[in-house]
Amino acid sequence: MARLLAIVTALAVLLGAAALAVHALEDRELMVPPPDAVAEAFVREVVTGRYARAREYLAEPLPDQELRTLRQSLGEDPTEVEAEVVARNDRQALANVRVSGGQGSAAVAFALEFEEEWKIVR
């Protein structure tokens, strides 16, 4: 029973530290994924056709059809996905994602907002 309690306590401490860092100390990239990681992960899910997982990165869910269109615009079988933050403040960020593959490369920009964690708004 002491072991169970120790694990639950460790989890509570970690969650408390994360909440403190995000809400009181306004952490935006240590305890939560930074905007470029969110944009990159979203594109990785889209180009691999995992639309349900891709939607988790969106503030407002998009239908499969729109995600499929985005996938086609990014090209087939990309080999590299790389994101960088173009501009940001504590509540909003703009990230650029470059997708490269055998057919060339494409770039797409995303606007993100912070609400508990970074989410893509458009």
Binding site: R3, A6, I7, A10, M31, P34
Partner: protein, 167 residues
Amino acid sequence: MDVGRIAVRALIAYAYLLFTTRASGKRAVSQATPVDLIVSLILGDVIDDFLWAEVSAAKFGVAVASIVLCEVVVKLAVHRWPRLLPVVQGSPVLVLRDGTEDGDALRGEQMNEGDLAHLLRQNGIPRERWSDVHLAFVETDHHLSVIRTPEAEPARKEDAWRVSSPS
């Protein structure tokens, strides 16, 4: 990505994993069962996601705690109800009796005679001395336990006394 933040995340993940895995109970790596190995692999994958900021600290913490809690609950259940042990960890398998290997048992463990010979050599028993083995079990951690025949057991202090004393 900022290397300083990667280092801080690594430190947090290390401290958290150290505490939670210590709380789950001590077990030497050489005694690890297949389930222990799977748990280690899962935790290794989870820490990778947190290190590169693909998941938040909260998600990382919940994932690790859930896996480790499952393991602790299973261990406690096995301790409370020993009948669960064969279900959770499997049972030792008798593969050699009085110098003769059990082909079916070896097949069940996906071993051949060469594997058995290898494990027996590690116990100091070459092929020509298999008759010295009364029983040999493949344990759940895939180590071989050997019980020698009384004649093949090393001499003990009492044996010397038996030889020297008149009967």
